[in-house]
């Protein structure tokens, strides 16, 4: 039996539990110095003067950089725009924004780095940063997308004729007239708040530069080392060969550790300028201010439906507040791309305006826009059910894309590879005894307790591959090598931010080579050692990186079999690799296996390490001369179901695999306070072939925790001047072990994809959107107040409390409870 499909815990677990992890900030270097940044306290201002004299005099201060020096020594860059290539996503409709690591004359959000200081110790660096005096002249602030879209808005970016950076539009059929003719029509607005991933490890960078070699070594808490190398090399005007990026253990990424940050370029800049190791570890407030936000979107919808709940036509006019147009604002386009998610609608119009404001740029966040799309669709389904007086599950079942309709083309051009949404929902309903719950609910109600059950469904496409993008590509590379002792090393271009794909990749390779799992080492995150790859995003590491490793291992396997066949005097077709040996398929069970097949003749089997040894040490021998020496293979894998040849209307398929999840939650709502407690959560998840159920479930648990956080707790709040009010973990509320439901279970359904050789889809972003939707649905169910529609996240107590009171009849309800 192979490893694939087995429950195998992460191979780094014990090391990490013993505190032996090596995170970026743990990397020790001789004689380091420390960077601290001066950040703008204004959301929109001109910089009139920077005075560093008071900082310069402090003992222990080594260097201070102003914007002019940085602009002279580097080139503009961003995640979306590496300077080494001529792609410029921010250059839309003639709108340009070129920015360096330090703001020169203009700051567009509060928290933007303005000056940088390096000192002998971190406290002195912080002290010196305090001493830098910056004179600002305030400019009118555009604090919200609503303001940004108003005619005559002052403009978040000087020189732009409006605040629109991109307008995504998709349409099929004739939604307007279909809605006009529909028996039922609902309208409304769904709102998803601005929030952030908050990996426990803050961003950290440690860089060193050697004049002797002319090379820069950067240890980075990053998800994409090779991309990072491109950006650093480009920003510093170095050959990428002279930049080595090493990704040690990463303490969570969730999308926000994509490269291209001001801070990282500054660390590299100083390392080269000072020829000394430079370290920077982010303070948590800097994370909130400047690492990158996500998800702030509203959806105005209009939906026509039939009496039986069938959605006939849908129009969605969405607006995303993307802050400044660096970073991962393309998430807003992904939101539009996913609509209407797992539902079939004949007439559909989707519009998404990505609008700039004087807030922090977007960074990636788990879901990458898909979570907002799913949340929107789920709220629409619940509204249809309520308006039509139908069961919420029934409405979903009647609108799901049927299981026999795959591959299914959505309005955006998205080509949904495979799915069985009804199956997942049916399996979920089997886990959640609705009838028993209704009895429990009624019994609780007599005791004044309000329990509710909510159902959510999410579609989480994975493996993003954008045309003409240097980062978001659906291919990757892997090298598999076996040493003369038979040990295997896998070097991959994909990385793990802590999600465990190294264990899954090792399992795939061990199975393919028939070797014990503990003889396989996986090396990731080193641009000098690993083949070029795109790192970790969009759940690609196992799905794409694992497939590349499989392809490379397969090549090795063939060579081993070929040599093994000679050694065993057998036909390669008759051989198998398993348990560390190559054996004739008809071999008797051990221990007789290594005995000769007949007296004096060849053996039944040979250990793989002996075959490896033979290839290395006897390259001119009879058994090996027919193969190329060495046991190493590098292969690249390009995922299926991506279509960049534009079809009609320029639509593309840029998400190859479409995992999904149905989820149910049970909540208790305190009617008098609006406080929501999640009691239970059950999910049925489908990511195609499951390589390691333990890893998939654990990832999904984490996704669900972030989904519940998004539903109930997490929110970045800004005031009218675009000042961020939540810059610490005291104010940005995350769920703890106490808030998580006492019962949480994840079951699997496996609908394989044809896009990967194993049939595996991505699983890393699952679990976020479903719980967001299910919680909103469950709270409504618990309150049972007609007309109550919770369309805005998060459902913090005051919002729920206010919503209850805004709906007629709610007051009596509160009194009886």
């Amino acid at each position: 039996m192979g490893y694939i499909g087995q429950r195998i815990p992460g191979r780094n677990n014990l090391r990490l539990a013993r505190g032996a992890g090596q995170f970026t900030a743990d990397v020790q270097m001789p004689n380091p110095c420390f960077m601290a940044l001066v950040r703008s306290p204004y959301a929109h201002a001109e910089i009139e003067h920077v005075d560093v004299s008071a900082a310069q005099g402090l003992p222990g201060v080594i260097d201070i950089a102003t914007a002019a020096e940085v602009a002279q020594a580097t080139r503009p860059f961003s995640f979306a725009r590496p300077p080494e290539v001529e792609v410029n996503l921010a250059d839309m409709d003639g709108k340009r924004l070129r920015e360096y690591a330090l703001a020169e004359r203009w700051v567009g959000y509060s928290g933007r780095p303005v000056a940088a200081v390096v000192a002998e110790d971190p406290n002195t660096a912080a002290e010196a940063a305090e001493r830098v005096a910056v004179q600002y002249r305030e400019l009118p602030v555009v604090a919200s997308a609503e303001d940004a879209l108003k005619p005559g808005s002052p403009g978040a970016i000087p020189g732009w004729n409006d605040n629109l950076v991109f307008h995504t539009r998709y349409a099929k059929g004739d939604a307007a007239s279909a809605i006009a003719k529909a028996p039922g029509v609902i309208t409304g607005r769904v709102q998803v708040q601005r929030h952030v991933p908050v990996p426990l490890e803050p961003r950290a960078f440690v860089a060193d530069y050697s004049t002797r070699t002319g090379r820069l070594t950067m240890y980075a808490s990053t998800q994409m080392p090779h991309t990072d190398r491109s950006i650093l090399a480009g920003a510093l005007g170095m050959a990428s060969e002279d930049v080595q990026v090493i990704q040690p253990d990463v303490g969570g990424g969730f999308g926000c550790k994509v490269p291209g940050s001001d801070e990282e370029v500054l660390v590299a800049f100083f390392a080269r300028r000072l020829e000394r190791p430079v370290r920077w570890t982010e303070e948590r407030s800097e994370y909130f201010l400047a690492c990158g936000h996500a998800r702030e979107t509203w959806f105005d919808f209009e939906a026509g439906y039939r009496e039986d709940g069938k959605l006939l036509a849908l129009r969605i006019d969405a607006v995303a507040d993307i802050g400044l147009p660096f970073g991962a604002w393309v998430q807003s386009s992904v939101t539009a791309y996913c609509l209407p998610c797992g539902y079939a609608v004949d007439h559909c119009e989707v519009s998404m305006r990505s609008v700039v404001t004087n807030k922090c740029k977007w960074g990636g966040y788990r879901g990458f826009g898909k979570e907002a799309a799913s949340f929107c669709m789920e709220r629409i389904m619940d509204r249809i059910a309520d308006a039509a007086g139908l069961d919420r599950v029934e409405v979903r079942l009647c609108n799901f894309i049927p299981a026999d309709a795959f591959p299914y083309g959505q309005v955006s051009g998205a080509l949904l590879d495979s799915g069985n949404y009804q199956g997942a929902m049916a399996k979920l309903l089997a886990l959640v005894d609705q009838e028993a719950f209704r009895q429990e609910q009624a019994a609780a109600r007599t005791n004044g307790r309000c329990l509710g059950l909510g159902i959510g469904f999410e579609l989480t496409p994975e493996g993003c591959s954008m045309p003409n993008s240097d980062f978001l590509q659906g291919w990757d590379g892997a090298t598999v090598r076996m040493d003369p002792g038979g040990r295997v090393t896998v070097l991959t271009g994909v990385t793990s931010p802590g999600s465990g794909n190294e264990t899954g990749i090792a399992m795939i390779v061990a199975d393919e080579l028939g070797v014990p799992l503990d003889t396989v080492t996986v090396v990731q995150g080193d641009t000098d050692r690993c083949p070029y790859g795109l790192g970790n995003f969009s759940s690609r590491s196992l799905m794409i990186g694992g497939s590349a490793a499989l392809a490379a291992a397969r090549e090795l396997r063939e060579k081993l079999l070929s040599v093994g066949a000679k050694m065993l005097d057998a036909d390669p077709e008759d051989l198998e690799l398993a348990n560390g040996e190559i054996r004739v398929a008809a071999a008797p069970a051990p221990p007789a296996a290594d005995a000769p097949r007949n007296p004096g003749g060849p053996a039944w089997s040979v250990p793989i390490r002996r075959v490896a040894r033979k290839i290395y040490s006897h390259a001119f021998g009879a058994e090996t001369a027919h193969v190329e020496p060495g046991l190493e293979s590098t292969r690249y894998f390009r995922i299926g179901n991506v279509h960049h040849q534009p079809e009609t209307e320029g639509r593309l398929s840029f998400y190859p695999t479409w995992p999904f999840m149905a989820v149910a939650v049970v909540v208790e709502v305190d009617v008098e306070t609006g406080f929501v407690e999640v009691l239970r959560c059950a999910a049925v998840h489908d990511c195609g072939t499951v390589v390691n159920p333990t890893l998939v479930e654990a990832n999904t648990h984490g996704g669900i925790a972030q989904g519940l956080g998004a539903a109930l707790y997490e929110e970045l709040l800004h005031d009218d001047a675009a000042q961020l009010l939540t810059t610490t973990l005291m104010d940005y509320t995350l769920p703890t072990a106490v808030e998580m439901p006492a019962e949480l279970s994840v079951a699997h359904q496996e609908t394989p994809t044809a896009a990967t050789p194993l049939g595996a889809k991505g699983a890393g972003e699952s679990g976020v959107a479903g719980p967001m939707a299910a919680v909103a649905s469950a709270v409504e169910d618990a309150l049972g107040v007609e007309g109550l529609a919770l369309m805005t996240l998060p459902l913090k107590p005051e919002r729920v409390w206010r919503s209850i009171r805004e709906v007629a009849g709610a007051v009596q309800m509160g009194e009886t409870a």
Binding site: A36, A126, L725, V738, E739, K796, E798
Partner: protein, 298 residues
């Protein structure tokens, strides 16, 4: 990362600490558990030039039983208070409030003196101490030439808070201890503490402490104290002269007592007021239940 330089002293004698505090009251901060002051320094909100650590001063620590009260030293931690058998026996309301401060690590380190002196209106202790009529023992250096002369005064908790995060402590004066009058036996008095926060370990939006007793006439008397609604905690005497409180009566009393509630991003003023009323009433209800249980078991 703390940016500003400071010196740190950790005297073992109270007189030394008070002298250090008196030397430059504006530039000096007393330090106890540090659960508030250290993050404030890290965040750049506080930048004292001198820190005087009070933890190593024996007089400021410990929990002692007095005839009518329990004296809790300022540097007693929340964990000490939540688990001390004397506090659990004689001031269970305070022990309950302590047990709900932050999380385990915060309770292991943070101290009652620090919490009281910081006077965050939402801090758990304040309504509990107010309901229990606690008395603050404050110490300061005495003026004049005597190097080690100190002065002590006792401040009823109701007079201690001067405004938002402000107390009546004079410059250089510290909280040395809290004297918490003993609660009556469970057969005669019921108490309950309630904390309302977004997640359990967070700072509360409001918290409430209730204390009720049955008088010899059979009538109930008591009070409920609310934290988090106003810049200082507020104590509300419950309407007397009845055997029980009617539905909504406690809420009404609380609403009347809270004029112009605070608001912030977690809770606007009207919601905060309503939460004060709801949780205050729930605390009273729980205290009544405890009293009933106590009476029954007698």
């Amino acid at each position: 990362m703390i940016a500003e330089r400071f010196d740190y002293q950790s005297p073992t004698r109270l007189a030394d600490a008070l002298r250090l505090l008196a030397a430059d009251p504006d530039g000096t901060r007393p330090l106890s558990g540090g659960m508030t002051l250290v993050p404030m320094m890290t965040l750049g909100l506080a930048a004292p030039e001198h820190i005087v650590d009070l933890k190593r001063i024996p007089e400021l620590g410990g929990i002692h039983e007095e005839p009518d009260a329990v004296r809790i030293g300022a540097t007693a931690t929340h964990h000490d208070i939540a688990t001390d058998p004397r506090v659990r026996l004689h001031a269970p309301l305070l022990a309950d409030a302590a047990a709900l401060v932050g999380d385990v690590q915060v309770r292991n380190r943070g101290t009652i003196g620090g919490s009281i002196a910081h006077a965050d209106p939402a801090a758990n202790y304040l309504p509990a101490l107010l309901a229990l009529d606690a008395v603050i023992e404050a110490r300061a250096k005495r003026g004049g030439l005597l190097r080690n002369a100190t002065r002590s005064r006792r401040i009823p908790i109701g007079e201690f808070f001067a405004g938002l995060m402000a107390t009546c402590l004079a410059a250089g004066e510290i909280v040395a201890a809290v004297h918490v009058p003993k609660q009556l036996a469970a057969t005669h008095q019921g108490a309950a503490f309630r904390k309302f926060a977004r997640v359990k370990g967070n700072f509360p939006i409001v918290c409430a402490a209730a204390l009720v007793e049955r008088q010899s006439s059979g009538e109930r008397a008591g009070c409920v104290a609310i934290g988090g609604a106003l810049p200082i905690p507020v104590r509300i005497a419950l309407p007397g002269g009845q055997a029980a409180w009617a539905a909504g009566e406690v809420e009404t009393a609380i609403r009347q007592a809270i004029d112009d509630p605070m608001s912030d991003a977690n809770a606007s003023a009207d919601y905060r007021l309503e939460m004060a009323a709801v949780h205050g009433a729930r605390a009273v209800e729980a205290a009544c239940r405890a009293l009933d249980d106590g009476e029954r078991s007698a």
